[in-house]
């Protein structure tokens, strides 16, 4: 159907080093660039109370210097190749990336090997980063929608660690120690828990040879077992009310969603596309366009009718069941109760009657287009390879297109009835108080 499917399914070379490191290499020679990503099977869903946010803080520390890259040489090490570098942490994974001119390959592999095994974690650097991360958290708290999201997520889960925010709770960030950070780093940053992805204008054999030279010296270590509490079945609607200074009201509806490994995931993806427009499946994508949603169920029911100024749905591919979120911004002057009633009425119609064949067909076409758009660069292709390998496992990425195409209206109706159940939802309100000058 599209070039990215060809790119995804062909020419990916998979190799394991003796120490357990998995390497995926894909040659794409359309631009003189290489993108290197190193993925670790650890995220905020692997954290325990008291040290929430440790995965994200460790990610920050891994830009601070290593045994063979002094702190003051970090700045500029990628930039001298015209490159950019970054990292992110989420519920199931932590990842680091560099995209630069292809001549940078050896340096980028060297950086990632250093990051895996030789981080310094100087005590004063840990302390300095504590306040940076708290600043990051406070910046997020300035956004009412994000504040509400944190509260809704925490209410929707009772036991599963997906309940806490990836950045962590403030109290844990204030009390965690350097030993907490370094212990987490040493446990999880081992070759057998990592996947190295290299995509771009490279020779695969050359990549493997250089990867062996840089990573082969790192000894194998036990891979931590991922133990997560199972979330008990929700037995009644939960509600959250956040009242704070502000100017606009927000509504958030959340249901327990199928994990990426659940057969219901793809019908749910189609359902979300029909409700709020297709977003695709790339968390990192440079393609950030708004979803095509003007004929979507919730757009026509709420935005077109003047009840909401925006609607967004979010279904993400996760290892364990996460949440399906519908986020709404109340139109100025519209009461949250009226917006909630209209939203639930529209969703109930879908829960009880499913979608039309035409809606399902449109949603599938949208998803196909978005999966082409979101694979528009070596950086994005590399992200998708690493993401699905880490979160779900081998082979999944190749099947995305065919699994979306195979979804039937009956399957969508079934998942709507199961997922959008009344007693399995959490409803959050952000009600502004005294915020208008």
């Amino acid at each position: 159907m599209g070039v990215p499917e060809t790119i995804q399914s062909a020419r990916v070379r998979t190799v394991h080093l003796d120490n357990g490191l998995k390497i995926l290499v894909q040659e794409i020679h359309t631009a003189p660039l290489v993108s290197v990503w190193c993925w670790y099977g650890v995220g905020s869903g692997d954290e325990t109370p008291g040290t929430t946010g440790v995965s994200h803080w460790v990610e920050h520390m891994n830009f601070k210097g290593t045994e063979h890259i002094p702190r003051d040489e970090m700045k500029g090490i990628v930039e001298k190749f015209g490159g950019s570098w970054n990292g992110y942490t989420w519920v199931d994974q932590t990842t680091y990336l560099e995209t630069a001119v292809k001549d940078a390959l050896d340096t980028l592999l060297f950086i990632e090997a250093e990051r895996m095994a030789y981080g310094l974690y100087e005590p004063e650097e840990c302390e300095s980063e504590r306040t940076v991360i708290i600043s990051e958290l406070h910046g997020g708290d300035n956004d009412p929608d994000q504040l509400l999201d944190t509260e809704v997520t925490a209410s929707a889960f009772h036991a599963h660690p997906y309940r806490h925010p990836t950045i962590g709770w403030l109290e844990d960030l204030q009390s965690m120690t350097r030993d907490d950070l370094f212990g987490h780093y040493r446990r999880h940053y081992v070759p057998g828990n990592a996947t190295l992805v290299v995509v771009g204008a490279v020779d695969a054999e050359d990549v493997l040879k250089r990867a062996q030279a840089h990573f082969g010296r790192i000894p194998a270590s036990p891979v931590p077992v991922r133990r997560r509490a199972a979330e008990p079945m929700q037995r009644g609607e939960r509600r959250v009310l956040v009242e704070r200074e502000g100017a606009t009201a927000y509504l958030k509806l959340a249901w327990h969603a199928p994990s990426a490994l659940d057969p219901d995931f793809f019908p749910m993806l189609v359902l979300d596309a029909a409700l709020t427009g297709a977003k695709g499946l790339n968390l990192w994508s440079s393609f950030r366009g708004a979803p095509p949603q003007r004929r979507a169920r919730l757009y026509t029911a709420l935005v077109d009718r003047g009840l909401a100024s925006s609607v967004a749905g979010a279904l993400l591919a996760t290892r364990d069941p996460f949440l399906y979120n519908v986020s709404l911004t109340a139109m100025d002057g519209v009461a949250l109760g009226a917006l909630e009633d209209a939203a639930l009425e529209a969703l109930d119609r879908v829960r009880l009657n499913g979608l039309t064949e035409e809606e399902v067909a449109r949603a599938k076409r949208q998803l196909h287009a978005r999966m082409v758009f979101e694979n528009d660069s070596v950086t994005n292709v590399a992200h998708q390879l690493g993401y699905f390998e880490t979160v779900v496992g081998p082979g999944y990425l190749d099947e995305l297109g065919s699994k979306v195409r195979a979804v039937t209206p009956a399957e969508v109706a079934g998942v709507a009835a199961r997922v959008l159940a009344k007693d399995r939802r959490t409803i959050g309100w952000f009600r502004p108080v005294k915020g208008r000058a």
């Binding site: 599209g2 794409i28 930039e79 001298k80 015209g82 910046g139 100024s309 287009a369």
Partner: protein
Amino acid sequence: MSTAVTSGLTPVRHVFPNGAAAIVQETAFSTAVTFNLGFHAGGLYEPDAVTGLAWFTGRVIDRGTSARSAEAIAEALDDRGVTIRVSTNRHVMTLSCTCLSEDFAEMLAIAADVCRNATFPPEEIEKRRAETITTIWQDQDNPGVRASEALQALLYGERHPYGRPAKGSIATVERLSRADLVAYHAARFAPSAQTIIIVGDVRAEDAFAQVERAFDDWRAPAPAERQVPPVPPRSVRDERRIEMPEKSQSDIAYGFVSVNRLDPAYCSHWVMNTIFGQFGLGGRLAENIRERQGMAYYAYSSFDPSLGPGPLVIRAGVDPANVDRAIAAIDQEVTALGREGASEQELSETRRFLIGSIPRMLETNASIATFLQTVEFFGLGLDYDRRLSSLLEAVTLDGVNSAAASVLDPARACVAVAGPRLRADEAGCHDRRAGIE
């Protein structure tokens, strides 16, 4: 008339008899096409008393034409997983679309219909007006937006097209009439002031044929030009603090008026800004505020020159208790680079970074389209991507230091802060003017 050049990019430009200029760049990464339709219809051209007219025109323009209802447009876009994104800056309104290659002809035809025959239906105006007012309230609740808008007003004056908020105010948006929108569209949308950029999986001759079909019979009078009003030189420092008591973090926007895009010293200013607030995590600014003092998650500067002298803006988000310390740190870095200049090492590292980043800057269809639109708007030449390296190579330390000395002076800075904490003597929201030593 067609022109082709040999370079990293191989764009082909054609000017149609009605004056419309089209540039096509073929790429082969994916089966998608991005096109941008740009018009001289940005905020500069709206009457001074009708602030927000350009932005609001962009919100309604794609909601109905003489041939297609809003529903018909929505249906056609949603069926193909496509959106038309309308963005409005100070000079240009751009309609952007990314679609599958197979949908290119139809999507271009719809976008052309929107540009030529928008009807601005009254019911759509009222829906979009309510959305826009809600969005302005959201902006009013966002410390980052409040600080940035306050800074622009300080730098240029509240009535200058660069100083007023693009969306206007709730009062001006409430006053906008359909006649205002129709008149603005008629005055500003014409082929002679149009730039068409097409990038992706389409042959240039086919793309030009589609452009001809969509636009060739369009005739409309050339829009009147308007010069950017002069910006008086500044001799004192201005500060404004906006109280937002329940926010968690304060946003600082600190800046200067810099040069225009066609200034001969543009590249020197670009390099200077990169050293100051971009290189690595955020140049000298981030090194001081984030890395050494751990005060902020983000601290950087940006540089946005246009036909008029654009701003150089420093942004940082900090704990309310650290606002004064952060401003002092910015003052320190402004003084250091402005008075003492950069080092040879900083110049060579930064030049190497910027030259090396050119392929990355042109990694996606969308980024190439943006680059070519800039090239066309400022008349930089189709070979600009090839010349850019030598232009950057020619930047000297004297040039960078002159650029720094001409812009960076804390005694002439404008500073806006939005957030919770005010000093005891600064209750309320007010302007404070002060010269500093």
